[in-house]
Amino acid sequence: MNVTLTVNGETLSLDVPPSTTLLDLLRDRLSLHGTKEYCHSGVCGACTVLADGKAVSSCSMLAGQVEGADVLTIEGLTPDEGLHPIQQAFVDNFGLQCGYCTPGMILLAKALLDENPAPTREEIIRYMGGNICRCTGYAGILRSVEAAVKERGSWS
């Protein structure tokens, strides 16, 4: 089947088998390896990307479901020079250890801050509660998101 979608600002038209997931499409077809895979069942959030601004588990979306969508991956979030403020907040606040959950966490945080520029701690926890991190115990991630919220005024 054919799908047309925008990935990191570039509109693409691709021929893929119908069973292809968005994750496969990103990793295997487009070699965008920043999107990670673990459970392949929509539970862990390692494969989180933004589709039309919403955080989705790319492993549980078939290519057909993203027809026409505007997809943002960690590669698209990262500026040519340096880091996006949310990424920088994760670095400065020790919001990552092994880094495997990190792209997904950062994109989830981006979706949250786009939806709600000034979330409370409880709102952050509720929103981020679905993504798994095995290394940090989440405290560093929470500190990173809170730091990004504080800085929110200085970036758009």
Binding site: H33, T78, C98, Y100, T136
Partner: protein, 769 residues
């Protein structure tokens, strides 16, 4: 010996800094195993046993082989037909065949490997491999495996590590004892004797970066890329099995927690690659990780004799570890924890018996300090029972019994740097131990606090030897390349090594580059496990710089035509002390014409001299002490337990990267909340694992996160690099004990088994009524 603690102006060591690779990780630019490819790579799918125990009657792979796109199928027939391949591997216990030979020993045991041009074809072809089994009775847990007349999982034993001692004719693949004093005499002298039994079920590590391997066998040379934690032992094992040189390359690893500490797929995929004549990649699925390595089931029967004032007089501790179908990892880890099973307490008469038992569960591996975690839960929970029974304050009871510097441990070691009392005080203070607990006006939610203390060893050889080396080289661009075998698994090892090397050379971080974990590019290292790297690799790095410095001075002295003795090291290069001449590191290496390099070793083990002039064996190069204090809320209606606050304090020696230590502690606590409250693997009566998928196996999330208070006791440890020692695993070890005790404090019920599920809590509360 390393001159690791000489006078030095510390600039990098002691500073909190994010890991060097953090920006690349945040940008998603770091490559893990699943991101690597090699040209002409084929893909593997493993055919696994659906049964926990069965004889293989026949394997018919002809249909699979005939499928277009299939390269080859590896079964026992191909392994047997290759005279150059050894059938069985395991560098601790040699009991795992590359693929099942006569029988399968656990659900998920490896029966065949299908190699195809792409993953989908490999998967489809794997379905076509027809295996006929004759089911055998299975022993699914330790009591069944120890029962009279139980079927033997292995008829013969092949321990490699010298300390492993099986009991012939049984399923016990290892039994060992450690002791001191006279236990029976001790019990006779006790005023009270307490006996308890504690249990913990298996869980899985759930490292997000799935265990994976790419293997290539070409022109008599093996190259393996894998996210295994032990590259050098793996390389040696590959060389033994395939009788050709092997290179092992480890990229960045997305967590392991022990699940990747031993080989379970590398050797078999190499056999498949050899047969295929092409590089082969294999990535476990999340479900398959649950059948590859798990944290074993654990049982501990503990008798403790005390005086009326709470002084411990005697302890007999027997523990059973379910190593599963293969002892390639589990038997030795169980044995290692003999050293710490009695805890950080002075016990004049003690005996510990360790039993590692084969069953038909998947093989077990360490899990962040296993089973020290379960030992700690057991002796700490019993301690609170004793305190309550004797009417002695829980902290006071611990203070009366905790070890101090200069005590002789059960192993015969003379303990140094044993700041166990400080850990206890720090952890309890950090959660506000003496502050009143909030009271629920409706009386439905109960609050309580609990504490636990532990002692942990690090892997230590039985005789004096070098456990690892490092190489430091001044290379073309004036940068110092630090070549280490330590696997960067998320613990921040590159950063810690760069801090240590930078200070040892008096240069900034920008002048240091880390090259890690490629067995052809870095010198030998035993493994990245047991919190060992900061200390061991750190010492080797310091010694390498010590060996490099004279070479650099010599070269600079010739270039500058000055006496070597009159030259000093500066952050930029080497200079005449009076400032009259200098050469930068870049110029130095350019003028010399080739890199200057030196290696350093970290020699450990053997004996050391105690203050009394006697020699003591070194059972652990260093001991780490820690305490955890936790506050919980128990909902008496739903049975849910919430950990509200958790503080942990650990002895770290000099804190090389303090904030990184704090985040390691937070991570350890957060992870262990799962096995303490809700994680457990469950098998049905037919021996089938019923919750191998993440959908049915909840993990801790941001919502289960307590408020953390990480602390550490920062006293330089003599002999450590700049006074540092290891601590990577300690945060998790102290959690279950503190939480079980906090629930005891809240409810008055002492639970003897984790996880503390709502069902168990409600049952416990009802039993009390």
């Amino acid at each position: 010996m390393c001159a690791a603690t000489g006078p030095n102006v510390t600039r990098l060591v002691g500073q909190s800094m994010p890991s060097l690779e953090a920006p690349d990780k945040a940008a998603g630019r770091i490559e893990y195993m699943a991101d690597l490819t090699v040209p002409n790579m084929a893909h593997a799918k493993v055919v696994r046993s659906p049964l926990p125990h069965a004889r293989i009657v026949s394997i018919d792979a002809s249909e699979a082989r005939a499928m277009p796109g299939v390269v080859c199928v590896l079964t026992r027939d191909e392994v047997r037909a290759d005279p150059e391949v050894e059938e069985v591997y395991g560098f601790v216990y040699r009991d795992a065949p590359l693929v099942a030979m006569d029988k399968v020993r656990h659900q998920g045991d490896i029966v065949a490997v299908v190699v195809a041009d792409d993953v989908d074809t490999a998967e489809a072809a794997a379905e076509l491999v027809d295996v006929e089994y004759e089911e055998l009775p299975a022993v699914m847990n330790v009591p069944q495996a120890l029962a009279e007349g139980a079927v033997q999982v292995h008829e013969e034993f092949f321990p490699i590590a010298p300390e492993l001692r099986p009991i012939e004719g049984t399923n016990v693949c290892h039994h060992a004892t450690i002791g001191c004093g006279d236990v029976e005499q001790g019990f006779a002298e006790s005023d009270f004797v307490y006996e308890d039994e504690f249990l913990a079920p298996p869980v899985q590590h759930c490292a997000l970066d799935l265990h994976a391997v790419i293997s290539q066998v070409e022109d008599g040379q093996i190259t393996v890329w894998t996210n295994c934690q032990s590259p050098f032992p793996l390389g040696r094992e590959l060389e033994r099995i395939f009788k050709m040189p092997a290179r092992v390359i480890i990229p960045y690893v997305g967590g392991g927690f022990g699940s990747k500490s031993r080989d379970r797929i590398e050797c078999v995929i190499t056999a498949a690659a050899k047969l295929a004549g092409r590089p082969v990649r294999y990535i476990l699925t999340q479900e398959e990780t649950f059948m590859t390595f798990i944290r074993p089931a654990y049982r501990n029967r503990m008798r403790t004799g005390v005086k009326r004032d709470g002084t411990i007089v005697a302890r007999h501790n027997e523990f059973w570890v379910d190593v599963g179908g293969y002892a390639i990892s589990g038997a030795r880890s169980a044995n290692n924890t003999l050293k710490v099973a009695t805890g950080p307490y002075r016990i004049p008469n003690a005996r510990v018996d360790c039993y590692a038992v084969y069953t038909n569960k998947p093989p077990s591996s360490p899990y962040r300090g296993l089973p020290t975690t379960q030992h700690t839960m057991s002796y700490e929970a019993q301690f609170d029972r004793i305190a309550r029974d004797l009417g002695i304050d829980r902290l006071e009871l611990r203070r009366r019994n905790l070890v101090r510097d200069g005590d002789i441990h059960i192993t015969g070691d003379y303990l140094r740097s044993a700041h166990s009392h400080e850990c206890l005080e720090q952890a309890t203070e950090a959660i506000g131990w003496n502050e009143p607990l909030p009271v629920d006006p409706e009386g439905k939610k109960l609050r309580g606090r609990g504490v636990s203390c532990t002692i942990k060893y690090t892997l230590t050889p039985a005789r004096e030897m070098s456990e690892n080396s490092a190489e430091v080289a001044l290379v073309e661009d004036g940068v110092f390349e630090v070549r280490i075998g330590t696997v960067n698994i998320g613990q921040g090892s590159d950063t810690v090594m760069a801090q240590i090397a930078g200070d040892a050379l008096s240069v900034g971080l920008e002048s240091v580059r880390i090259v890690h974990s490629d067995t052809y590019r870095v010198p030998v290292d035993s493994s990245t496990t047991a919190s060992r790297s900061t200390y061991h690799m750190g010492r080797a790095v310091v010694e390498a710089t010590d060996n490099l410095k004279p070479q650099m001075l010599e070269a600079a002295s010739q270039l500058l035509e000055r006496e070597a003795a009159s030259l000093v090291f500066t952050p930029e290069g080497i200079a005449q002390a009076d400032g009259s001449a200098n050469v930068t590191y870049g110029e130095l290496v350019e003028r010399v014409g080739s890199p200057l390099a030196a290696t350093g070793d970290c020699v450990v083990g053997g004996m050391y001299a105690g203050p009394d002039g006697k020699s003591y064996p070194i059972a652990s190069t260093f001991w780490t002490f820690a305490s955890c204090a936790a506050e919980v809320e128990v909902d008496t209606e739903t049975g849910t337990v919430r950990v509200v606050k958790a503080a942990a304090s650990a002895t770290t020696g000099t804190a090389v990267n303090p904030h990184s230590i704090e985040t390691q502690l937070e991570g350890g606590i957060g992870q262990e909340i799962g096995p303490t409250l809700f994680e457990q693997l469950v098998w049905d009566d037919g021996g089938q694992l019923i919750n191998a998928a993440l959908l049915d196996y909840p993990l801790p999330t941001m919502e289960t996160m307590p408020e953390y208070a990480p602390r550490f006791v920062d006293h330089p440890f003599e002999g450590g690099p700049f006074g540092a020692k290891g601590m990577g695993e300690i945060g998790s070890v102290v959690v279950p004990g503190a939480v079980v005790n906090a629930v005891y404090d809240a409810t008055g019920v002492l639970f003897h088994e984790v996880p503390l599920t709502p069902h168990k809590i409600i049952e416990g509360l009802e039993g009390q009524r």
